[in-house]
């Protein structure tokens, strides 16, 4: 169990750093749901199913949608 938590934590950090330091915004936007999903798994391991469901639906689901729409709408100044 500790092994899994450690691995997931490391993945979480890697995804977060990737999101922040990647050059292209598209990569960051697509890494965001991965970040959310890892969090969901962590919440389930930490015995918080309600929080996990909310996180899955709101952060990893809808918020990603919001980001994708924003990304789509702002495509003409993406090259900067």
């Amino acid at each position: 169990m500790d092994m899994i938590v450690t691995l997931l934590m490391i993945f979480l950090l890697v995804t977060a750093f990737f999101m922040v330091f990647t050059k292209q915004t598209a990569n960051a936007v697509i890494a965001f749901p991965i970040f959310g999903s890892i969090l969901v798994v962590l919440f389930v391991i930490f015995q918080a199913p309600s929080v996990a469901m909310a996180e899955a639906v709101i952060t990893a689901g809808l918020a990603t949608g919001f980001f994708v729409i924003t990304f789509n709408k702002t495509k003409d100044s993406r090259k900067e």
């Binding site: 199913p49 309600s50 469901m53 919001f66 729409i69």
Partner: protein, 234 residues
Amino acid sequence: MVKKLYKLGLVVSLGMFLFVLFSDIHNLDRTSKNYLSEHYISEGVQETGAINLVTSVLYDYRAFDTLGEATVLLTAATILAFLVPVTKADMLGTTFTIIVYQATKYLIPFIAVLGVYVIMFGHLSPGGGFVGGVVMALIPILLSLTYGIDFSEYKLTPNTKKVVEDIGAIGFILLGLLAVLTGNNFLANGQAGFPLGNAGELISAGLIPYLNVMIGIKVGAGLAIIFNSLMKEQ
């Protein structure tokens, strides 16, 4: 460059602070039991009638927070509704194959059932009004994504959604005021004499399922407004 280093220094010092704080808290030996959560765990099911303690905290012990949080969501929906222009949208100008259209059509009843289930069983299993509301909001969102925003807004006009959202919020407050009518405090549930039923049944826990329904329709309508407004944003 100096500015960047300065900012980095700020963040690193913040990290040091946090780290010291966490290690201090970790090293603190806490012998005294946490009486509040002990009480919730040992008495919560009898006092509120809900098996899911998170729901019983969210909709009974601390229902007032939930009212505030629903208000935040309504505020966000209001902001997005007035930020968008009146003109029509151009979003993801894609046409899909027929499979997508047909699949969406058949998916919608299942999503509706899932949403209603998550809302209604909020006091028995993980989920509840917020999550269920988001699932319900997926129906108009899916419609907008596949058939286009015009069709979605023809089926469910923004005004309808706005009214549904307001009705949900008003309903939450009115359910809270029911207790005031019986001479108790705002948002009282078990103390105001609403039958708690047998813990574990669908119709139990007094007002909690109804509060869940209200929050569910409020959140569903609110998020649908937010999503459609973002798509229409010019």
